[in-house]
Symmetry: C2
Subunit: 195 residues, 2 copies
């Protein structure tokens, strides 16, 4: 297998880095988060455990990077309306949360993050930063279009959207219907009050 033939003991080797992320993704999908160990990831990736610990603080941080790497890349949607942009952001979020590896990892991963003060302190400042910057861009455009006012509590809206998707899909385990993103965007964007 390509993975086990990845070169050993070369920390800056990009192939080793990728092999570790791939092995973590595969093991979490096959065994679940709790049963995945750093030792098993190292063995499958063909590296030493020390190579993993030189790059990641532990299982939670490694699995987070392995299952959520794409997040960083996604550019902010620009559909021309706040409702459209929120729907696009939510569709991406639902896709991330429902990808097999992420779905298998998410509950245990969130529990480890919440239970570890060091990681917990980095959630807002680091792990949620890319998603927030996309949301900030979306709101800046919406303010320019007069769709919302400048003092929207962006962190709170981000927590609301991410929490809703986690709770609905990740925890309760609902199969996300085609309308879920639009419905959540409507709740957050237009609210449930009739005017």
């Amino acid at each position: 297998m390509m993975l086990s033939s990845a070169p050993r003991g070369r920390p800056r080797d990009n192939r080793a880095h990728q092999a570790i992320l791939t092995a973590a993704t595969e093991l979490v999908t096959e065994l679940g988060y709790a049963a995945t160990s750093i030792g098993a990831v190292a063995a499958r990736a063909g590296v030493g455990k020390d190579t993993i610990y030189r790059r990641w603080s532990g299982k939670a941080e490694l699995v987070y990077e392995a299952v959520f790497t794409e997040t960083e890349a996604t550019p902010a949607p620009d559909t021309g309306t706040l409702a459209g942009d929120l729907t696009a952001l939510l569709e991406a979020l639902i896709q991330e949360f429902t990808a097999p590896a992420a779905a298998a990892a998410l509950p245990g991963l969130l529990a480890d993050f919440a239970a570890n003060p060091g990681l917990r302190a980095r959630i807002r400042s680091e792990f949620l930063a890319p998603a927030k910057s996309g949301l900030v861009t979306v709101f800046e455009r919406a303010v320019q279009r007069g769709e919302t006012d400048p003092n929207v509590p962006v962190d709170l809206v981000l927590d609301t959207l991410a929490g809703a998707v986690f709770f609905h899909v990740g925890l309760v385990g609902e199969q996300p219907g085609p309308q879920l993103a639009a419905q959540l965007a409507a709740v957050a964007g237009r609210g449930i009050e009739t005017r």
Copy 2:
């Protein structure tokens, strides 16, 4: 101690039942969810493990009942407005999620629920049922007042409110400010779009 003097081996004994719930609440608060075991709860409550397993499927269900029992009792708020009722529901939710035992238990508890198909299947139908019935009552009154329309996706709104509080307070660990419930009620109720 009263707890350890609770009578043994009498499944229907209400004092034993209460002693088990109290012991579970204390241990989760002292040790955290992961470090709390059925054996330790049984020892502190002065009952046998079999007494616990006769009543609860395992740690997750026991801890859930121990830290969230009050939920069932709460009547639906009736402040006269949807925003006011949502704020009241959210204040109760924030209080539940931030109570020491619940805060200590929540991440690990949710991970166990999500990872256990049997428990997961009961989340919507059983564990969320009291909260949903309160929300349904609130929406029925809001529809009568013309504040919202009859086809509000109640389950989705419930997941959104609960998910937002979990993510913001339970996961990210924000100290809930006095305005949090009203801000979340505004996001869900009036939305973030300006009309």
